[in-house]
């Protein structure tokens, strides 16, 4: 009877989680965002499991297929480990310089844009309209990439 090589499978799945969770999960907290140590911890556990799985797959009684599959799983794990710093530090900085963006001390350029109810809204309105019945002390404009 064939026994499932569970260390390979769990190690492989965990390396996927370690590789892809940063932009979706760990960017949310300052502590896991500034350095991806949470992802590195997940990778470390994943590689321990992969190592156990490989040892099991390379025992003499195992089939060649399981040797190939477990090796592939380990290679994918390594590629993900290498891809993570690339995504965070290289791809993450593919941004325009925005050297002409308005500076501290300048008036924010006026605008009229459409809100989510299709109504036009001006910056002047946003600066005046009360929050909890008191005039706002300030407005934070957050430019973001999009809903996707």
């Amino acid at each position: 009877m064939k026994r499932l090589n569970w260390p390979i499978w769990t190690g492989f799945l965990l390396s996927l989680v370690a590789g892809f969770s940063y932009p979706f999960v760990f960017v949310r907290w300052a502590i896991t965002r500034e350095f991806p140590w949470a992802n590195l911890v997940l990778f470390a556990i994943a590689f321990v499991l992969l190592a156990f799985g490989l040892r099991r797959a390379f025992k003499p009684d195992k089939e060649i297929v399981s040797k190939i599959f477990s090796s592939l799983a380990a290679v994918v794990g390594l590629l993900l480990l290498g891809g993570l710093p690339f995504v965070i530090y290289v791809a993450g900085s593919w941004l325009p310089a925005s050297s002409e963006a308005p500076r501290v001390g300048q008036k924010a350029p006026a605008f009229t844009l459409t809100d989510s109810n299709n109504k036009p809204v001006t910056l002047a309105q946003l600066l005046i309209e009360p929050i909890n019945n008191t005039p706002p002390k300030g407005v934070l404009l957050i430019f973001y990439r999009g809903y996707w």
Binding site: Y89, A101, K137, G138, I142, F143, Y144, R145, Y147
Partner: protein
């Protein structure tokens, strides 16, 4: 992932309301997309404005032309804190889109507003 930074602001909405700071999100998304994804699915409660033609985004020099993941012209992440006269008192133009402004930083900067 592109709006995961907004979540931390949503979680601090009470603090921003207490500080008298109105949060406004601006992107190229249409009002329809914003309603569907940001309000209904993600449950944000602050104001969203649509700039599909990038008029305001261009005036603020924040156009990210032919962004690689979307293939479109979009806004690059940036945050501006204005006082009630509309003068910019604080801003962040991040060099890495995983490191946008955090609510703690903005709340700290808001203390200096008149």
């Amino acid at each position: 992932m592109c709006h995961s930074e907004l979540r931390s602001f949503e979680k601090n909405m009470n603090k921003f309301n207490e500080a008298g700071i109105r949060i406004v999100g601006i992107s190229v998304d249409t009002p329809e997309k914003t309603r569907e994804y940001m309000l209904q699915k993600a449950g944000y409660t602050f104001t969203f404005l649509s700039d599909p033609e990038l008029e305001t985004i261009r005036r603020y020099d924040l156009v990210h032309a032919r962004e690689i993941a979307s293939g479109k012209d979009i806004a690059r992440p940036a945050e501006f804190l204005l006082d009630s006269s509309g003068t910019i008192r604080w801003r962040t133009i991040t060099e890495n889109f995983f490191r946008t402004a955090r609510p703690e930083q903005v709340l700290e900067a808001a203390k200096a507003l008149p």
